[in-house]
């Protein structure tokens, strides 16, 4: 069967398949690349000696820091309930945003919306 014949008989099927592939491409691509290409886990700069422990354990913070931040945010902004923890108090130990927040977020290409409005200076540049 010639190409023209295939096109004529399976036109709709081809269109649907191709468009589905195009739509799903980003998902398939990222899934495949995460399996096939071993990207090294980004090295996050750990806080210095004065650090004793974080407000929650490491595993929790690794996966759920955003939930914690969001909860603090809701408590403070909406109920005026300023707790002991805030984005500012992270700064006490994690001094560098570039070497802590940004490194991981860049490697998973998640853009951060916090620092357009909240100040988080770099230790070198802060005066």
């Amino acid at each position: 069967m010639s190409i023209k014949g295939v096109w004529a008989t399976h036109r709709n099927a081809i269109i649907v398949t191709v468009s589905t592939l195009v739509i799903l491409f980003p998902i398939v691509y990222s899934a495949a690349s995460s399996i096939l290409i071993q990207t090294p886990t980004p090295f996050l700069e750990l806080p210095d000696e004065k650090y004793q422990e974080c407000v929650k354990d490491k595993e929790y913070m690794r996966f759920h820091h955003m939930d914690l931040l969001k909860e603090i945010r809701e408590e403070f902004v909406r109920y005026g309930n300023r707790g002991d923890v805030s984005l500012g108090s992270c700064r006490g130990c994690h001094t560098s945003r570039q070497r802590f927040c940004d490194r991981c977020h860049n490697s998973v290409s998640l853009s951060l919306d916090c620092f357009g409005c909240h100040y988080y200076p770099e230790p070198d540049t802060a005066s």
Binding site: H64, E71, R78, N81, D84, Y119
Partner: protein, 245 residues
């Protein structure tokens, strides 16, 4: 199971730690929300502005506000944001009279139209009566700017280039904002920046305090002077009172 509980539970499950269900409140807050709400609702913040003491060519309050709250100033009337602004008001058809200066700010209405129309509940009234914006939620529809009958709400059309007060966040472009009586200062037991500035130059035209407390300065001023509020006919019950309007 509500969302909060769900998050908490999934957090515990996913992190795979043996953290007991007896985790304290995630934030580690010293006081619970209920306590705090009670403390907030004790107050009813309000302001009294004495126009006789307000100086005509003074912009101390505006400057102080910009500095404290990182309010965007581009030098263009179309996009400048003013949490507090001063206008000059005079009798109609009398161009020779000088008129008097009137500071205008968010009136922190008891029944705020801006909070009523906000589709995401970003603008809301706190328990102490302050109308405040949660900029993390605002989608920038500008409906609140339309609904405010006092022109007291502003939209960030442009990114703010300055950041004078690093302790306080600024706002990105695309969100609405208005005066919040410097809620962060009130929480620390201080006075709003504009009031502080006005006291500093010894004009003392602005007075801020608790309307619930009959012995506070504002309550005394209100009971001992003829006061007016803006557009009382609308029934929004503003909490900014003017003497000598």
């Amino acid at each position: 199971m509500d969302r909060r509980k769900f998050l908490k539970a999934s957090g515990i499950l996913l992190s795979g730690t043996a953290c007991a269900p007896g985790l304290p409140l995630l934030t580690g807050c010293s006081s619970t929300r209920a306590d705090r709400e009670r403390t907030l609702s004790k107050y009813k913040w309000g302001m009294v502005i004495n126009l006789e003491k307000c100086r005509p060519d003074c912009d101390a309050c505006m400057v102080a506000c910009r500095k404290e709250n990182n309010v965007a100033f581009h030098g263009d009337k179309r996009w400048d944001v003013h949490w507090i602004r001063k206008v000059n008001v005079r009798e109609k058809d009398s161009p020779d009279t000088a008129g008097k200066p009137v500071p205008l700010l968010c009136n922190h209405c008891e029944d705020p139209p801006c909070a009523q129309v906000c589709p995401v509940q970003a603008t809301y009234k706190r328990d102490d009566g302050i109308v405040i914006v949660d900029h993390h939620r605002c989608i920038g529809c500008r409906y609140c700017v339309i609904a405010c009958p006092y022109n007291a709400r502003y939209f960030n059309y442009k990114e703010n280039p300055d950041w004078p007060n690093k302790e306080y966040p600024k706002r990105s472009h695309g969100v609405a904002e208005s005066c919040n009586f410097c809620a962060h200062l009130l929480d620390q037991g201080k006075k709003p920046a504009c009031v502080e500035a006005c006291d500093k130059i010894n004009a003392k035209a602005l007075c801020h305090g608790d309307l619930n407390d009959p012995d506070s300065e504002v309550s005394k001023l209100i009971s001992s002077n003829p006061v007016k509020r803006l557009r009382e006919d609308l029934g929004t019950e503003p909490k900014v009172y003017y003497i000598g309007l």
